[in-house]
Amino acid sequence: MITVIQICKEKFHYYEFVRPIEEIIKKTNTEFISIHYKDLTEDMLSKSRKIIICGTSLKDNAFLDDIKYFLWLRGYNKPVLGICGGMHILGLLYNEKMHKKQEIGLTKVEFKKDFFGMKKIEEVYELHNFYVTSKEYNIIAESKNCPQAIKHREKPFYAVLFHPEVRNKELIRNFILD
C-alpha cells in the first residue's frame, strides 16, 4: 500500500495538490490511502510500502511549524518521495537550510543521472517560494536557480522541488512501480 500524506492546512487545496497525485496512483492499480499528517497512525505507516508527501500552495506554510509531526521519518527506512513542501519537510528533518527563491511556471531542469525516468533536461512545473539545501542529501537535478531533485545519502528518501503531477507524471508512476 502507498500512503499519500497531505500537508494542506486549507482543505480546498486538496483538489490542486493531492487529487492529481491520487489520480496517477489510481491509474497504476495500486492500493493507497490519502491522509493529512495530523491524522497519520502507526498502523498506516506499518502497512505502507512507500510514502508520498504532497505539496501545498504558496501561501500555505503552516506545515513548517509542525515538523514535530514528521519526526517518525528519522526512523523510517522505506521509500519516501517528497514533493515541494514534502521536500522541505524531508530536508528540515536533517539540518536542512531553507532559502527564499521563487519559481512559478514551466522551467528547464537538468538531471545529472536517471531519477525515476527523468533524464538530462526536462521541462517541469514550479510553484514555490523557498528551496532547501542539506549535506545529508545528494543533488540529482538543478534548475538555473536551485536544487530540484535530491536523494538522501543513506535512506531511500527522494524529493523534488517541482510538481511532477503536472508535467512529469511518469516520475510518480515510476516511483510507485519501481
Binding site: 490542486e16 487529487r19 501561501k59 500555505d60 512559478i104 511556471g105 503536472v166
Partner: protein, 222 residues
C-alpha cells in the same frame, strides 16, 4: 474564506464557483475580463456580456475590467481588477477554473502572490472526460458557443454537453487529439443552468459567424 472567482460564464469557472461554495467559502464577487482580443492567451471571450445575467441570478456582485487582450497588458489589467476586489470585498483568495494551462495558472499565481492572496485551482489537472461527467452529474446545463479546431464546424454550436456530446468528443480525441473539455481553446462554452442559478437562462436569439473550423455563436438572452 472570502474569495473572488475569475469568471468567464463558461463551464470551468462556473464549476469552480460551485465547488468553492460547496466547501463553505464565501464568494464575495466574480471577476470578468472583457477582452478586445478574440485570441487572448488568458481570457475566454464569447458571450462574456451575458456573464452579467449569470452573476445576477447567482446574486453575486460582478467586477469587470476591459482589456485590449495583448499579452502583457492583459495581466496588468487582471492585477488591477483583483486588487480592486481585494480592496472592495476584503477577499483572501482567488478561485480559478484552470484545468491544464500552465501559462494561465502560473500568471495568476504570480499576481496572487504579489497581492498576498491565496490561489485555488480546484479543477487543476482534472481528467477531461471526468470533468464533463461531473458537470452533467451535478446538473450543469451547458451549451457550446464557440468551436475553433479542425474538424469542428458550425454544427457544434448550440450543442449541449450531454451523453451524446461525450461520446462524440471521445471519438474526436481518438482521431484528432482534440481535448474533450476544450481546454486548449477548441471549444467555448456557456452555462445556461446549474445549481447556483435561481432560474434557467433561456436564449432568445443566436447569431452565428465564422468560417471553416472557427465558429462563434453570440446569444441574446430573454
Amino acid at each position: 474564506m472570502n474569495v473572488a472567482v475569475l469568471f468567464s460564464g463558461g463551464k470551468d469557472s462556473t464549476f469552480a464557483t460551485f465547488i468553492a461554495k460547496k466547501h463553505g467559502h464565501k464568494i464575495c464577487c466574480l471577476i470578468s475580463l472583457i477582452s478586445e482580443n478574440p485570441d487572448s492567451y488568458m481570457f475566454h471571450t464569447p458571450s462574456i456580456s451575458k456573464v452579467r445575467k449569470q452573476a445576477e441570478i447567482m446574486k453575486i456582485p460582478l467586477l469587470t475590467q476591459n482589456t485590449k487582450g495583448e499579452k502583457e497588458t492583459e495581466l496588468k489589467d487582471l492585477e488591477k481588477i483583483i486588487f480592486r476586489a481585494k480592496k472592495e470585498f476584503n477577499i483572501q483568495g482567488i478561485v480559478t477554473g484552470t484545468v491544464e494551462s500552465a501559462y494561465q495558472a502560473s500568471r495568476i499565481q504570480k499576481i496572487c502572490d504579489k497581492l498576498n492572496l491565496d490561489c485555488f485551482n480546484p479543477l487543476w489537472q482534472k481528467d477531461q472526460i471526468e470533468l464533463l461527467n461531473d458537470l452533467t452529474k451535478n446538473n450543469f446545463e451547458i451549451i457550446i458557443t464557440g468551436a475553433f479546431a479542425y474538424p469542428l464546424d458550425k454544427k457544434w454550436l448550440g450543442r449541449k454537453i450531454n451523453h451524446k456530446f461525450l461520446q462524440d468528443v471521445k471519438e474526436l480525441y481518438k482521431k484528432y487529439k482534440i481535448n474533450p473539455a476544450g481546454e486548449g481553446g477548441e471549444f467555448e462554452t456557456f452555462v445556461i443552468n446549474c445549481p447556483l442559478f435561481s432560474e434557467r437562462l433561456s436564449i432568445k436569439e443566436r447569431k452565428i459567424t465564422g468560417k471553416k473550423n472557427s465558429w462563434t455563436m453570440e446569444i441574446e438572452l430573454t
